[in-house]
């Protein structure tokens, strides 16, 4: 009998703590999955935003971990009184907005920006103050970037307005100057040719050719000439030759595609200026030895010129002074510049052809 009792005693001694432990574990498990004060506090403590509730006299009803950490960092002390904490924060902020219902203010801590909101709640006939803090660093940085971009846009708009206001005058002055230059140049040329013909021996120019030049010039002065004379056509600048020779001087072999002869004076000048920049960059930065310039057909009043080279493509294209001035010129001509970077590097310029 004694032995039996001893056995029962031993079993019960072992089982009771085990059962009690199991009961405690079960209770804890149930508590975690039952909504109660503990589970609510647990959830609030793990919010990324800061939250504090306090009464009118400052007594803190509830404060979560995020707010606790933030207030300790900003005030330098443990938050013991909600009212005093808020008053101190409000003296520190430089950005504040008050409405009837709430006060919003901005503070920074450890390089991050926090938007605080202080508002009053009514809970069971008691005024309770709520302070929240949300990390709005990304929003703040985006807003700052937007402000910079707005300034740049406003400046660009002002420049465009100024340019447009004077565009007509500028075009008229340029045309006037170009006409004056053409007449003066052709008159000067024929005068010099005449003197050369009169004073030098063994001149190749014939009397008939000289007279034809004089007739052309007088026609220009009287505004009679609308067609290009045979002489003028013969001496018209050769875009392809000019660019090929320049490329050769730089050690570049140049191929030109498209009908460059159909390009007017303005477009030809644009092509030359763009080619100068592209050839210089291709040789200096890409060690190129070959370049291809392709001129597209006119479509909807636009032409595209493609400058491709066999040099080393840039790893990270940051347009320098030359390409930036090209972009500006293209925009002024109603066009744009884009870049192709893959096995070969190419600059594509689209312009409005008048």
């Amino acid at each position: 009998m004694n032995q039996t009792l001893r056995i029962w005693y031993a079993v019960l001694s072992a089982m009771i703590p085990l059962v009690l432990s199991m009961l405690l574990l079960l209770q804890a498990h149930l508590a975690r999955h039952r909504i109660g004060r503990a589970s609510v506090k647990y959830s609030i403590d793990h919010l990324p935003a800061g939250l504090m509730l306090f009464l009118a006299d400052g007594r803190i009803v509830m404060i979560n971990r995020a707010m606790n950490r933030l207030l300790r960092s900003l005030t330098g002390v443990l938050p013991l009184n909600g009212r005093k904490c808020c008053d101190q924060l409000l003296t520190q902020t430089k950005v504040r907005q008050d409405t009837e219902e709430e006060t919003n203010f901005l503070l920074s801590e450890s390089g991050r920006f926090y938007t605080f909101r202080l508002s009053k709640l009514r809970v069971r006939d008691t005024d309770v103050w709520q302070l929240t803090a949300v990390d709005t660093t990304d929003l703040h940085e985006t807003e700052a970037e937007l402000r910079v971009q707005e300034k740049e846009l406003a400046q660009a708009q002002r420049e465009l307005a100024e340019y447009s206001a004077h565009a007509e005058d500028r075009a008229r002055n340029e045309e006037y100057l170009a006409t004056k230059m053409r007449i003066h140049d052709s008159l000067g040329q024929v005068l010099l040719s005449t003197r050369y013909w009169l004073t030098e021996q063994n001149v190749q120019l014939t009397k008939q050719e000289l007279l034809a030049s004089w007739r052309q010039v007088m026609g220009n002065l009287r505004g009679e000439n609308t067609e290009v004379s045979a002489e003028a056509e013969k001496s018209a600048p050769d875009l392809q030759k000019a660019l090929t020779d320049a490329a050769k001087a730089m050690g570049l072999s140049l191929t030109m595609e498209g009908d460059t002869k159909s390009a007017g004076v303005s477009l030809s000048r644009f092509i030359v200026r763009a080619a100068r920049i592209c050839m210089t960059n291709a040789v200096r930065h890409g060690a190129a030895t070959e370049m291809t310039i392709s001129l597209s057909e006119k479509r909807d009043g636009r032409r595209t010129i493609r400058f491709a080279n066999n040099g080393v493509p840039p790893r990270d294209l940051k347009p320098g002074g030359g390409l930036r001035s090209l972009e500006k010129r293209a925009e002024q001509a109603g066009g744009s510049v884009s870049y192709e970077s893959g096995e070969t590097f190419a600059v594509l310029v689209t312009v409005q052809e008048v």
């Binding site: 170009a178 004056k180 230059m181 053409r182 003066h184 140049d185 008159l187 000067g188 040329q189 005068l191 010099l192 040719s193 003197r195 050369y196 120019l205 001496s235 600048p237 875009l239 000019a242 660019l243 020779d245 320049a246 001087a249 730089m250 050690g251 004076v265 303005s266 030809s268 000048r269 030359v272 200026r273 100068r276 050839m279 210089t280």
Partner: protein, 131 residues
């Protein structure tokens, strides 16, 4: 004696050939480039090590010799420039001086005067019209 490397920028072919003959015939100058478009001038200045540029103002496709001169003086200040024009525009003389262009001459001068202006420019003188 080492010859001075010269580039001619002139859109009128006859003018260009005249200048080439005058300069080469003097024995003091070597014409390393002779082009009709001022917009391409600075490419040649760099690649041909040009010491003196004879620059017309109105060149092929309306390229502006004064603008090209301003660019050259900014990038290659050692290169000397002599502007040649048939148009006595005082504004151009002012602009040429401001850009640092060494000399400014009118085209209606004879061979001797052209060579004299070039020689004086290379000696460091500044040859500009009076008045």
């Amino acid at each position: 004696m080492e010859k001075t490397k010269v580039m001619i920028v002139e859109d009128q072919e006859l003018q260009r050939k005249m200048l080439e003959e005058i300069l080469t015939g003097s024995g003091r100058y070597e014409v390393v480039a002779s082009i009709d478009n001022a917009d391409l001038a600075d490419l040649y200045v760099e690649t041909k090590e040009v010491e003196l540029v004879l620059m017309d103002i109105y060149t092929a496709f309306g390229a502006d010799g004064l603008e090209a001169s301003e660019r050259i003086k900014e990038e290659y200040p050692e290169t000397k420039i002599m502007i040649r024009t048939s148009m006595p525009e005082s504004a151009w003389v002012t602009r040429a001086r401001a850009a640092g262009v060494e000399s400014f001459c009118y085209k209606d001068v004879g061979e001797a005067a052209v060579l004299d202006a070039c020689d004086r420019t290379m000696r460091g003188e500044s040859v500009y019209p009076e008045g």
